[in-house]
Symmetry: C2
Subunit: 447 residues, 2 copies
């Protein structure tokens, strides 16, 4: 390095305190993830010290209810005053594993402003307030890590931030919600109805008492926002993500998909696209998707998660693993803690949020998709031609058309080629209102 170019006064410098010094940890929250993080920290403290270059020392655990019994934490480390804990001089890293948005936002911002590095597992927080959090981390020159916010121990955040930092990402397609994957897989393998599969998921602990955030795709949409932001260096927020859940998927949809060679997966799809004016844009969406059975994503079963990445030079990559649960989430949190602690000891800062590309986020209508439409139509000569004309008038070409007798109606299954989502959607509206169409049974997009 030529010394004439060094800028010793730059705020990006973070020299570190040197080998062997302790790093103070504050943990906010003591639920499934927090208690597992504590257990692993203690069990592997020697190994972790070697990997960091200094020991992690627990300064305190902030909880809302001090009276609740807390296994594995001595009473004097517990506090219900998170703000005081965060601001202690001997706390270097704040770990947020509370959940929710408003309160975690306040404490995480307070920690960053106090010059503490932050590790969070909170996808809803990151997806809703990434700009504000990233700005606070930059201003204080500290780290903000959130590997556990997407797909738990599957290291997709690190992969997008670091490993693929020299590549151009074209598309990220993920099964990022274990609850819905469990339900769809159960429907596929047992023929169960949606309601029965959901009940089974609830019984086994894969679904929460109120499953709305999972089954309506909101959880996956948070993750899509984070993945799109990292992958395309563009701020994509939760509200930018088009979101459809799986609650309308029927056993009939699943079996029809299966006989056509597909499985139905709830995918988070983040894509670099070119809009009608030829400009680059970003699309992020969550919806049930027909995935060909031979695609690697099709064989991701039970509550497993997987992220499929297509990049210019790397080609196709897939990352597969447990996307939820106390231990896998704690693994990701602890990996981030080691990274943040290393930087405290050795200096430097992890690559943070970087939205330099600042691409526009495309309306869902401007995206190219493909439809699989299953409908009942009246059984009359000429109907097929009239319905086909409704596609043709918008320039939508059909890949396959299958007509089956079904009592007094005819069942018509149409698979389109790629076309503008807005045109496909308008065509389906028209079909729904056509006197020739008795019912549109299902509309599912293809991968």
């Amino acid at each position: 390095m030529t010394s004439s170019t060094a800028h010793p006064e730059s705020t990006t410098h973070n020299p570190g305190r040197g080998d062997g010094e302790a790093v103070g940890i504050a943990i906010l929250g003591h639920g499934t993830v927090g208690s597992e993080v504590l257990r692993l920290m203690e069990e592997h403290s020697d190994s972790l010290a070697h990997r960091i270059g200094g020991r992690m020392e627990l300064r305190g655990v902030a909880v809302s209810d001090l009276e609740k019994p807390r296994l594995g934490v001595s009473r004097e480390l517990l506090t219900d005053d998170a703000m005081t804990l965060i601001n202690r001089d001997d706390v270097d890293i704040v770990v947020e594993v509370i959940g929710g948005i408003d309160y975690p936002r306040r404490v995480v911002l307070a920690a960053l402003k106090a010059g503490k590095s932050v590790v969070t597992a909170n996808k809803a927080l990151v997806a809703a307030h990434a700009d504000e959090l990233a700005a606070a981390a930059d201003a204080a020159n500290v780290d903000l890590y959130f590997e556990a916010a997407v797909a738990a121990a599957i290291p997709v955040v690190g992969m997008l931030r670091r490993s693929l930092a020299g590549d151009q990402i074209e598309r990220i397609s993920g099964i990022v919600n274990g609850t819905t994957n469990f339900i769809l897989d159960a429907m596929e393998s047992t023929g169960a109805a949606y309601g029965d599969a959901l009940a089974e998921a609830t019984r086994l602990g894969y679904a929460e008492a109120d499953p709305t955030a999972d089954v309506e795709g909101h959880d996956a949409a948070s993750k899509a926002a984070i993945l799109a932001s990292l992958g395309f260096h563009t701020r994509v927020n939760f509200n930018d993500v088009h979101c459809e859940g799986i609650s309308k998927i029927t056993a009939d949809d699943i079996s029809a998909a299966s006989s056509a060679g597909y499985v139905i997966k709830l995918l988070a799809i983040c894509e670099r696209i070119t809009d009608a004016e030829g400009n680059e844009a970003v699309s992020a969406r969550v919806h049930p998707t027909l995935v060909p059975k031979e695609h690697p994503l099709a064989s991701v079963n039970e509550s497993y998660n997987a992220i499929f990445v297509e990049a210019e030079a790397a080609g196709r990559l897939m990352f597969y693993g447990n996307g939820a649960g106390g231990a896998p989430t704690a693994s990701a949190v602890l990996g981030d803690m080691v990274g943040a602690a290393r930087n405290k000891v050795h200096g430097g800062r992890a690559p943070g949020e970087n939205t330099y590309a600042n691409l526009p986020v495309a309306d869902f209508g401007a995206v190219h998709t493909r439809y699989h439409i299953d409908m009942d139509v009246v059984d009359r000569t000429g109907v097929l031609a009239e319905l086909a004309a409704k596609f043709a008038v918008r320039g939508i070409s059909l890949k396959t058309v299958r007509q089956e007798e079904s009592g007094e109606h005819s069942r018509l299954i149409v698979v389109t080629h790629s076309a503008l989502e807005s045109d496909l959607s308008a065509t389906v509206d028209e079909l729904t209102n056509s006197p020739d169409v008795k019912a549109v049974n299902s509309v599912i997009r293809l991968f």
Copy 2:
């Protein structure tokens, strides 16, 4: 951070030169990978500058033959004097994409000693000389990156160094050689003999003119050494890896495996084991392995690579992608270059080699494995009992025994439970020498 604990004089400090400063790059080698790195560096120079916080500037490309036409590199950047290029003051990062061991070792050591960070794609070099290279990088307080040395763009090195830094890895099982996976997959899907599948792989460019390093498992063994070193924080060298290739696998082996529900894969298996005295040790080995068809590794086809990791908290993870080729390798190299360049600009250093655990490397004989043995035995009453006794005497229990008539002999297929490799191997020797056994047709270990 409490200022009283800062050690500004520590050699681990690496303050960085500050935002906006250029980072000088020297590339050694201009083959498939080197030329692709150059192409991507130029095509994405603006994006890369944003991600780094400063521009990468190419100072020179060292080649052995200056007369050869080099597309995309201006003549004045070419040199055949790598040492002079490396030692230029305005070179910060040296990228080694030459191949071989002795010459790359000399230039990489020279670069590290001159205070340059090094990015290499050279698995043979890293597997043979990791200690020496790591010591030189530590002494100079610079980065040594080698993501591309294992499975190209699949970010397994970064994942082991960073993402799983808070976890304890139990086992890493990888399909890390595309040539042998292509050959085995072709044998499986077409019924081809080994020689024909190898010829097809050569014709399509998947196998080199001399395929020894691939088909005998040497290439996979280098990668196993690297994975075991990173995963278990213990130095494992190429010579520590037990290595068997695929050149003895027959079409009969493949079809027998298939009817029993397995595919044969060449796996690199790195495992934390407990030896006979109850002490922890590390095993690293490469051999053909029967993988159950429902295991995620079984569906890794063609020349794709995959790494399956089992960790205490994270559970089962799999990473899948292109494990070779100019563009995927260049993606990994460029990701490393961005990491090294960020550290030059912002300060800090990537987590380097850390062999603190320093576990013994177990002899292959001390590892527990399972055998699938296919043999022709004489067709006589009592033979089965006598042969079974040869297993029992060493405490090896049998999971399944299948006997089939086959002309004048009987075919006997035995699958054992887990037992000491040395006992299994000694038993096979005894069977081979038994007058009751006409031929041991194949011995393949199970996953």
